[in-house]
């Protein structure tokens, strides 16, 4: 019995954003990373095309992350004590992008200065050939001061600056515009809030193909279903032709999964949770895998083993 395959052609397409610049383009990266560009639901390659696979970014902090799970600290070893070395290690671990996360204070409690931020960014850019993203501490004043300096320091590199939120995006967007960078905007799991922020950023003159949106996610077992469905709705809107949702999506499964007790700790948990290491890797891997199915274009991860797992899955999903 011949069955007619129900193909779905969509009028819309996600914009393609290019992160990083090689020498030929005025930067120093060894390659650029393109994200987005699909005109189909995730991995539905019988309906349309996904010119770029989802990409993996690894989080690198500017100070030793004492509060991280011992499993993460063990995986990174001494590299985690120096952002440049850490960035190099992330590249070796198979990341496509490095996400440098700046902190409010240096070890010892002194506030991070613009000069610190410049020096750290410079060091990371020298240590890795990967395109980078730099996120501020998430506090308005500090973000503005540090990210303006970072934008200047990395002029020409086409980095992603973040995090733009509704309460603070102007200075970050202006800095990114001035130095040819991209921005990342975050909203609280809501289709309309995401659109609204994209509009605000675009109204400042930022071309849409230089905006990445983070609709916020949550860890497996801790509200991931809300984020998953918001991402599905954003992607459907994009494919249906809603311009202000046609931006690549970045989410942070590494941060969300490793916050949870399931990943973080090995003691004082029910026996039914099983082996700690296996559970922790599974928690981050499944959080990330599930978000890929919802349309993630950039996944920010923390453990090298997860990167290997998620990359292998992406490769299998993209195989023709």
């Amino acid at each position: 019995m011949p069955v007619e395959i129900p193909v779905e052609k969509w009028p819309g397409r996600v914009l393609e954003a290019t992160i990083g610049a090689t020498a030929a383009e005025g930067g120093t990266r060894s390659r650029v990373v393109k994200v987005g560009g699909e005109n189909t639901l995730p991995f539905m390659l019988t309906d349309g095309e996904m010119p770029n696979p989802p990409r993996i970014a690894m989080e690198v902090l500017d100070r030793y992350p004492e509060d991280w799970s011992p499993l993460l600290l063990e995986a990174w070893g001494d590299a985690a004590r120096d952002p440049a070395q850490w960035a190099k290690a992330a590249e070796d671990a198979g990341a496509d992008l490095v996400l440098l996360q700046l902190s409010l204070t240096r070890d010892g409690g002194k506030p991070t200065t613009a000069a610190d931020a410049r020096a750290i960014t410079r060091a990371v850019l020298q240590a890795t050939g990967l395109p980078i993203m730099v996120f501020g501490p998430g506090q308005v004043d500090a973000d503005n001061e540090l990210l303006v300096a970072v934008a200047e320091e990395a002029a020409g590199e086409r980095i992603v600056l973040g995090i733009c939120e509704e309460k603070n995006y102007r200075t970050i967007v202006a800095a990114a515009l001035a130095s040819g960078h991209l921005v990342n905007g975050r909203t609280a799991m809501d289709v309309n809030l995401a659109k609204q922020l994209n509009i605000l950023i675009a109204d400042m003159g930022m071309p849409l193909d230089r905006i990445i949106m983070d609709p916020t996610t949550a860890g497996l077992g801790y509200g991931i279903e809300y984020g998953y469905s918001v991402m599905e709705r954003l992607r459907l809107a994009a494919l249906q032709g809603d311009k202000m949702t046609q931006l690549p999506m970045l989410v942070t499964p590494g941060f969300e999964a490793w916050r949870q007790k399931e990943s973080k700790v090995g003691e004082g948990v029910p026996a039914s949770w099983g082996d700690w290491r296996e559970r922790a890797i599974l928690w981050e891997t499944l959080t990330a895998t599930n978000l890929l199915l919802a349309g993630a274009n950039v996944l920010v991860l923390r453990h090298p083993e997860t990167v290997r797992r998620v990359r292998a899955f992406i490769e299998r999903m993209m195989a023709k």
Partner: protein, 449 residues
């Protein structure tokens, strides 16, 4: 898929005799389409039209049930492609496979381990659903012995995997009076398999490597009298599975294509090199349209992650899972034990309650009615503000049960401290830690003075 009023109208006598109580056949058809009238109200509708209308009213994906002596699993009956469109209803059954070439005692041990597994997640006791026994031996007696062993080791439903009808027959006999799923009818063996399924009144899976072949088989098997059918489109890699299962879901829901309107069975282990990869594939199948998932590997960590994911995806997006607002007593609190307040979002409540419980320290946990939202979400939405906190304290009657006036609020809403103090004269408001994990340490230092 439901018919429109016009489609129904075409099946009615179109005489406008009014006996149904409506002025015209069209008006009656519209009411039928809106499910506000019963077809039986029209005395003149033909048998043929009745059959067509009944068929159209049937769910686009058939509900299929397997049953053991103590548990049953029903899958199918889904109505949407994306969970936000309404909700997903029947979570896929998670089965663990054993092979009859394994020594009987090992089969029993494996079954007991996997079926005995349970984990508590946000107050729910989660477990796997059943066992798939495979006739790897090809021998009827060996298979029957393995099925019997599994059947005795668990009261959960079984899936019987055999390609030789004679072997299947032996296994089916050993499954006693349960309702297993038979896997699978193929182009070669479908007649005998269908006869077995029909005879025993049990569901039958069909396997073909193309949708064309699959539809052909379901028609044949259906013609032979088997109504409860499960599909295996033969794909094993994650990309092909996503695409094929999406096509099947679309065909059933958007095209109302009856020959493929059945739940799907998947085998993630056959497309994976190890346990974590198998879990990734199984997670995909949970999100994207499997009805039965047969796992080749079992570990507590893997089971927990998959079970939690299954609850997440099958939670009704319109209604967060909530707990009852009120006073929760943890570890026999006394009048001088600490009082904490949180919201009634179940994930929030259980992350706090579990920490206090695990600490062994007594405490009173007040749960505010925050419409099932997390602390910060409720705070941002105005459902967990100083007024709500004060109201919860006053209406729960906690004041009569304690000898102090100290309230611990979540660290995430530290900004509320001053306002809560104003709302609750005589109370001292303490800001607790931000994350529940840090509560045991905090409570150790708590003292009534």
């Amino acid at each position: 898929m439901a018919l429109t009023g016009l489609q129904i109208y075409k099946l009615l006598p179109q005489t406008n005799c009014k006996e149904c109580g409506y002025p015209t056949c069209l008006a009656f058809a519209m009411k039928l389409a809106a499910k506000q009238a019963e077809l039986s109200a029209c005395p003149y509708v033909s048998e043929e039209a009745k059959a067509q209308l009944d068929a159209a009213a049937a769910p686009p994906i058939r509900l299929v049930t397997v049953q053991g002596p103590g548990h049953k699993v029903s899958v199918g009956n889904e109505t949407v492609i994306f969970r936000h469109e309404k909700t997903f209803y029947n979570p896929p059954g998670l089965f663990v496979r054993v092979k009859d070439t394994t020594p009987i005692t090992d089969i029993q041990k494996a079954v007991q381990e996997a079926m005995g597994y349970s984990v508590v997640y946000v107050g729910m006791i989660l477990h796997l659903d059943g066992v798939a026994v495979e006739a790897a031996s090809g021998n009827p007696d060996t298979f029957a012995a393995a099925v019997k062993a599994a059947r005795e080791a668990t009261d959960r439903p079984l899936i019987l995997i055999a390609s030789d009808p004679a072997v299947m027959k032996a296994g089916l006999a050993a499954a006693d009076d349960t309702r297993p799923l038979l896997y699978a009818a193929t182009a070669e063996n479908w007649q005998e398999m269908a006869a077995l399924a029909k005879g025993a009144g049990v569901p039958l899976a069909v396997r073909a490597d193309s949708l064309d072949g699959l539809a052909e088989l379901t028609e044949k098997v259906g013609g032979a009298g088997v109504q409860d059918i499960v599909l295996d489109p033969g794909v094993r890699d994650p990309a092909g599975t996503l695409v094929t299962l999406t096509h099947l879901r679309r065909l059933a829901l958007k095209k109302n294509f009856r020959p493929l309107g059945f739940p799907v069975i998947t085998f993630p282990g056959e497309g994976a090199a190890d346990a974590i990869e198998e879990a990734q594939l199984a997670a995909e199948h949970i999100a994207k349209y499997a009805g039965f998932i047969v796992l080749d590997r079992f570990s507590p960590a893997m089971a927990y992650a998959l079970l939690a994911w299954r609850v997440n995806i099958y939670t009704n997006p319109q209604e967060p899972i909530k707990v009852q607002p009120g006073i929760y007593e943890i570890n026999n609190p006394k009048p001088d034990s600490p009082v904490m307040i949180t919201t009634n979002f179940s994930i929030t409540y259980f992350s706090v309650a579990n920490e206090v419980d695990g600490s062994g320290l007594p405490g009173w946990l007040l749960v505010a009615d925050a419409e099932g939202m997390s602390v910060l979400t409720a705070w941002a939405a105005g459902k967990f503000d100083a007024e709500k906190i004060a109201k919860t304290v006053k209406t729960t009657g906690i004041e009569e049960r304690i000898a102090h006036r100290k309230l611990i609020i979540p660290g995430a809403v530290a900004v509320l401290m001053g306002e809560v103090e104003e709302e609750l004269p005589g109370w001292q408001i303490l800001v607790g830690p931000r994350e529940a994990v840090d509560l045991p340490g905090y409570l150790k230092l708590w003292s009534v003075n």
